[in-house]
Symmetry: none
Subunit: 201 residues, 4 copies
DNA sequence: TATGAATGAGATTTCATTCAT
DNA sequence: CATGAATGAAATCTCATTCAT
């Protein structure tokens, strides 16, 4: 650490600013480097390329988020739906876990979820939606089977989409973690009602 | 009709393809013109500039959509909420009106709602959300007042957002108008329940 | 005369405006034609090309000016310098003749003298300077011979230059013909003194 | 110095040639770069843009010239005109100072005074004329007052114009500094006579 | 560790001009 | 008499990337 660390961190700070302002694609490397008082070559030495610079900012958040989701779904898979009865607040722990994962590094998650177009992360929201659809969809199938009804695939997709967008919307509109936690609860409640009411028919 | 018309239509067809594939910003005029077997100068003669070319594809859809929304809200403003009781399907006409506006020119609406970044239409989704929030928000205030409760502003924004995204999602995922109409109904039902249940507290 | 004349005259009027504002080179044919509500093709039909359009505006003024100068110098050639004594005002007729030629069509002369860069008239000022230098130079030689002195070629060139620039300056700074006539007299007086005093040494 | 320096200097040399031949506006970056065997990008790295390239050629000359003028007028401001009597050669030092400033970098001054149209320097001649008019005009007012006469504003402007054009003409027509110095003296003499004789009436 | 120099491909846009009709 | 359509060449500039040092 020392002079070199400075360069790297200055570069990361300026890159964060620029990517947040303009998105990955439109952001200009020269602008970032000019702000950081560094030549563009430095980016290629330190981060290999533009995408590497972006990755350095978002990869940890990406892994953290994916790990949190994977862990959650691993636990959820064991749940027995034949006897499930929804009570308000029974998903608060899921919400809290996600809020924690999202707000652990607010800027990084914002970059990841809203500024990644043009980078290799550009499909991350869709990926997460697909992940939810897969897991919640499986639950819905079991739930439907247990109640003698059938799944509505469009609603399954839509509710997965909504679940993810709820958090994207939160990150975009509420900077405070505690307030975010309060805001998300009725949204989750609403979505769960949707699953019970409309995902099966 | 004839040779000249061909050029304009070939250009529009190739532009549509390119804009759908890459979005307004990333789309290349060169590529469009090469595909249409025309020089870039032709675009400037026929459409003034890149944005004019995009406009030629989406402006009618834009106007149609805005007009439909304006008309709807003008009618809605007269509704009396003190006595409102929701019954399933009582918003089907709103849904149908919107689906009609959206599916009247499927490609144009897709361009408008999902490929406009970088053009003057880039904020259209946010604009529509704001329009809904303004109108539904006012209704929520009246509804809240009539039931002695207060509005939850985050939910107001979120439900407006969701209402719009429901249609964006539909356009993105369901090409068939009739199926779209069937798909959207439970979604709207769910969102209305959200308004009644969670927008006030 | 009728519809067609209109087109031509509208075109000439708009061209004059545009050439005066931006000069021949920078002026844009499309802008001119757009203002005249005419297609660019019309220019090529009516005036052959951009330069033809400019010529239509300035050629008469060009001929008038050149003719006036030629006539003057033809008369001057016969003057006897061995006995010449300058008296104030003895060149007023020359000045008046030139002012008349210049202010006969103010706009056209302005175009010709200050907006012709890039056109075939772009050297007109230098040409006139050369013409003066040739004629006044010859006079200076005779005058020098009659007084036993020799010509200063730099001053000969410079005074020719100044003589021409006096009128260019006038056209650029004084719109009113009568005022121009009053303004130019001391200038001419001064320049003649220059010829007598400094063109020979 | 070495390979890298070459590029910059080659670029400057070719740019000078091209700007002298065609003027700033009409000069083509492509052509300059092609002659210098360099890509256009190099210009943007080394000089930021076309104007930066031009500036690199003329800015020092511009500063030198302006500084010389400013210095001269600062000194002149203290002169007492009530007792001024003109003697031949009493402005030789002013002429010499200007010639020195102009011929210090002949090409750069030529570019600045005759090829700057379209660049940020395009009004430099008019600026200098205005500067002279301001300073000489003030002197003329004082001189007129001391002799009970009044100023002729057209002549004030014209003589300022002539003073500047004398040097522009010199730069354009006489490459040799020493010869220029000899040439300018009678011109200055003549102009001073003009000030004394015609600027007041 | 990082710079400084430069590339090469590409972007959008503007221009005077042509020509069949 | 003039249009409408289109060309082709050129303009300035931006970009991510490379690489010797």
């Amino acid at each position: 650490m020392g002079i070199e660390t400075d360069t790297k961190e200055r570069l990361l700070a300026c890159a964060k600013e620029e990517f947040l302002a303009n998105g990955f694609q439109k952001a200009s490397l020269r602008t970032i480097c000019a702000k950081a008082d560094v030549t563009t070559g430095a980016v290629y030495f330190l981060f290999h390329d533009k995408e590497g610079l972006f990755s350095a900012l978002v990869e940890p958040a990406y892994r953290g988020l994916m790990a949190a989701l994977a862990k959650h779904f691993a636990e959820d898979a064991e749940e027995d739906f034949t006897t499930y009865v929804h009570t308000p607040g029974d998903h608060d722990d899921f919400a809290e876990m996600l809020i924690n994962a999202l707000y652990a590094d607010y800027d990084a998650v914002t970059l990841l979820l809203t500024c990644a177009a043009g980078s290799k992360y550009e499909n991350i929201v869709d990926q997460i939606i697909a992940l939810l659809e897969q897991n919640f969809g499986a639950m819905a199938v079991r739930y439907a089977a247990s109640t003698g009804r059938e799944v509505n695939p469009f609603m399954t997709h839509w509710l997965s989409h909504m679940s993810v967008m709820a958090y994207v919307h939160l990150i975009t509109h509420e900077r405070d973690r505690e307030q975010a936690l309060r805001d998300i609860k009725p949204v989750m409640e609403h979505i769960i009602v949707g699953w019970l009411q409309y995902a099966v028919r």
